[in-house]
C-alpha cells in the first residue's frame, strides 16, 4: 500500500446541491457535503432517508435531477467508469452468483476490475474466510460469509476510496471487530472510507466525521466529537438534607425532583455544572455519557428542521474548514 497524503489534493467526495427526484418524490434535496481524503466518514439516516440514493448517484447507477457530484475529483456523470476503477463498493444486501465458488466470484470480479487482488489473502485471513470456505459454492454460504465475501470483493484491489453500504450487516461481533481493524488500517494507509450504517455505536467508534440525513436533506455534518459535545446528558443527583437550588444552573433542563433525588438533562460542558452543584450535601452524582444514538434521535425529534444540526456554514458544510 502506498503511504498517507497521496490523494489529499482533492476531496474524496464532493456533492453540491445534489438533488434527485422520482416523479413527485424528493429522494435527495440540495445535498452538499464533502468527504476529505483519508477520513472515515459515516453516513447516517433511517431507511428511506436518501443514503442509498446518494451512494448510487455517486457511482453512476442513478442520474441526479440537478446539482453535481465529484468523486476523487471526477464528475460522476461524465467520468463514472474511471471512478469505478478507483473505488471499491459494497452494495447493501450484496448478491453474488450462487452457483460460483467464493474464489471464482472474487477472481471474476477482480478480472473485471482489471487490477490485481493485492489484498485478498490478507482480508480473507482477517475475516477468517478459509481456503475451504472459498472453494464452496456461494449458495451454501451463511449470510455472514456472504457479507465477508462482499467486503473482500470491495477492498481486494486496495481502492483509494471505499464506499460501503451497511458493511457490518450480518457479521458477528468478532468479525465486526476485525472489520473495524481493516478500516483503521486503510485510514492509516491514506485511504478514504465512506460508509452508511444504522449501527450507531460502530459509527461512533470508527468514524472521524458523520453526516446525518433525513428525508433527503442534510441535518448535520460534524466530527463525532463535536456532535457528542452538543448533545444532552442525563444526570442523576442524590443529596443529604434539604434540596439544593438547581433552577439557576445553566444548561440544565427537564428537572424532576423526587425526595432526595433529582434527574435532569444537561446541555453543554460538564465542568460549570459540577462546580455549581459542588456541596458537602451531595451524596451521589451520575452523568451518563452522551451517545451518538441520542444525538441521532434528537435530529429526528418532531419539529426539528434540517438546519438545526448543521455546522455554522449551514448548507455549505462542504466548506467546513480543517479541524
Amino acid at each position: 500500500m502506498e503511504g498517507e497524503g497521496r490523494f489529499d489534493a482533492l476531496p474524496a467526495i464532493e456533492t453540491e446541491r445534489l438533488t434527485k427526484h422520482y416523479g413527485s418524490v424528493r429522494a435527495l434535496n440540495d445535498l452538499s457535503l464533502e468527504v476529505r481524503p483519508g477520513e472515515i466518514f459515516g453516513f447516517l439516516g433511517p431507511n428511506g432517508a436518501g443514503k442509498s440514493t446518494t451512494i448510487r448517484t455517486l457511482l453512476g447507477y442513478l442520474h441526479a435531477t440537478s446539482g453535481n457530484a465529484r468523486v476523487l475529483g471526477m464528475d460522476v456523470e461524465r467520468e463514472n467508469v474511471e471512478i469505478r476503477r478507483r473505488v471499491g463498493y459494497l452494495p447493501g444486501g450484496i448478491s453474488l452468483y450462487g452457483s460460483m465458488s467464493g474464489e471464482d466470484a472474487l477472481d471474476y470480479l477482480a478480472d473485471l476490475q482489471g487490477q490485481p487482488a493485492a489484498r485478498r489473502a490478507e482480508l480473507c485471513d482477517r475475516l477468517q474466510l478459509t481456503a475451504h470456505d472459498l472453494r464452496r459454492r456461494i449458495r451454501d454460504y451463511s449470510r455472514g460469509m456472504r457479507q465477508k465475501l462482499g467486503v473482500i470483493q470491495a477492498l481486494q484491489h486496495d481502492p483509494e476510496l471505499a464506499i460501503l453500504d451497511e458493511p457490518t450487516e450480518g457479521l458477528d461481533p468478532l468479525m465486526q471487530h476485525a472489520f473495524y481493524g481493516i478500516l483503521e488500517d486503510m485510514k492509516a494507509a491514506g485511504r478514504t472510507i465512506f460508509f452508511s450504517s444504522h449501527v450507531l455505536p460502530e459509527v461512533e467508534r470508527v468514524c472521524d466525521r458523520v453526516a446525518i440525513i433525513r428525508a433527503g436533506e442534510l441535518m448535520a455534518l460534524q466530527t463525532v466529537d463535536d456532535l457528542l459535545a452538543r448533545r444532552k446528558r442525563r444526570i442523576t443527583l442524590r443529596w443529604r438534607g434539604a434540596a439544593p437550588d438547581l433552577s439557576s444552573i445553566p444548561g440544565l433542563a427537564d428537572l424532576q425532583l423526587r425526595g432526595d433525588r433529582a434527574t435532569a438533562t444537561l446541555a453543554g460542558e460538564v465542568g460549570p455544572f459540577v462546580r455549581a452543584i459542588a456541596s458537602p450535601a451531595l451524596e451521589d452524582l451520575t452523568i451518563e455519557p452522551a451517545s451518538l444514538e441520542e444525538a441521532f434521535l434528537e435530529f429526528y425529534a418532531d419539529g426539528e428542521g434540517p438546519a438545526a444540526g448543521r455546522p455554522e456554514s449551514g448548507a455549505g458544510a462542504a466548506a467546513e474548514g480543517p479541524e
Binding site: 457511482l59 447507477y61 473485471l112
Partner: protein, 267 residues
C-alpha cells in the same frame, strides 16, 4: 467488449449450450433421415387427402423436396423452442434477470460501461446462436452424406443459409435484449420477448395454412429465413437486409436507453 464478461457468460451457459447443440445436430440429421425414408409415403398420403396436403406446407416448407423438408424442419416448434432458450430467454434475462438477482449491481461497480455490458451480452448470445445454427446445418450435412442425398443438395450454399439463420435469431436476440434493458424484473422482459416470438411464429404459420392470410407472412421475421430459396440459388438480399435492420434498430435503442436509465437498488 469485455472478454472477461464474454467468457463468463459462455462458461455459465456451457452445459446447457452443449446439450442444445447436440440436440440441434441430431435434429438436422433426423430431417434428412426422415426425408430419405418417408417422403414417398407422405407424398402418397398427400395425394389422397387435401387437408393433409395443406398440413405438409407447414411453415412454407413441404415434405416432397429436400429443401422443403429442411425449411419445414427449421421452423418446427421443437427446434424453435431449443434455440429460443438462448436467443430469447438468455437475452431477456441478460439485464432484467441480473437486475432482479442483484448481481448487475456488483458487475456495474466495476469499470464496465453499460454499453460494453450490453454489447458483450449480445455478442455472447450471437455466438451461441451461430453455434446452434451451425450444429443444425452440420447435422443436415451429415444426414445428406449418410443418406446418400448429396446429389440433391448444394452443400456450398450452406454457409449462406447459416448466415440467414444467425441473422433471424440475432434479430430475436436483439429485440429481447432491448426489452430486457428496459425492465427491472425478468417477468415482463421474458413475457414480452416470448410474445414477440410467438406473434412472429403465428403470422408465419397462419399464412402457410390459410391462403387468404398469406400476406401475414410478410410481417413475420421467420418468413425472411428462406432455406429453400437459398438452396435453390434464389436468395433474396432484402431478407438479409431486413434482418440486419431488425438487429440494429433495437440495439441502437438499447444502447441509447440503458446508459440513461436509473438503476435503483434491487428490491
Amino acid at each position: 467488449m469485455s472478454t472477461v464478461l464474454l467468457l463468463r457468460i459462455w462458461r455459465f451457459a456451457a452445459t446447457r449450450l452443449l446439450i442444445v447443440t447436440l440436440a440441434a445436430l441430431v435434429w438436422g440429421w433426423l430431417l434428412l433421415f426422415f426425408y430419405s425414408q418417408f417422403s414417398e409415403a407422405i407424398r402418397q398420403l398427400a395425394t389422397e387427402s387435401s387437408i393433409f396436403k395443406q398440413f405438409t406446407n407447414f411453415g412454407s416448407g413441404d415434405l416432397f423436396t429436400i429443401s422443403g423438408s429442411i425449411t419445414l424442419g427449421t421452423q418446427h416448434p421443437l427446434l424453435i423452442a431449443l434455440i429460443a432458450i438462448f436467443a430469447v430467454g438468455g437475452a431477456a434475462l441478460a439485464i432484467a434477470g441480473e437486475r432482479q438477482a442483484g448481481t448487475l449491481e456488483v458487475l456495474l461497480a466495476r469499470p464496465l460501461p453499460r454499453r460494453t455490458y450490453l454489447l458483450t451480452q449480445l455478442l455472447a448470445i450471437l455466438a451461441m446462436v451461430a453455434l446452434l445454427v451451425g450444429a443444425l446445418l452440420a447435422g443436415m450435412a451429415i444426414g445428406a452424406v449418410t443418406q446418400g442425398l448429396t446429389g440433391q443438395l448444394e452443400l456450398a450454399r450452406f454457409p449462406l443459409m447459416w448466415v440467414n439463420g444467425v441473422l433471424l435469431w440475432g434479430a430475436f436476440a436483439s429485440v429481447s435484449l432491448a426489452i430486457s434493458a428496459s425492465f427491472d424484473r425478468p417477468g415482463p422482459a421474458i413475457g414480452l420477448s416470448i410474445a414477440f416470438l410467438l406473434l412472429n411464429y403465428f403470422l408465419e404459420i397462419l399464412g402457410s395454412f390459410w391462403t387468404d392470410a398469406k400476406w401475414t407472412q410478410e410481417y413475420s421475421l421467420f418468413h425472411h429465413f428462406q432455406p429453400s430459396e437459398i438452396l435453390a440459388g434464389k436468395a433474396d438480399p432484402l431478407d438479409f437486409v431486413l434482418l440486419v435492420a431488425v438487429i440494429l434498430i433495437p440495439l441502437a435503442y438499447a444502447l441509447w436507453r440503458f446508459p440513461r436509465r436509473d438503476l435503483a437498488a434491487p428490491a
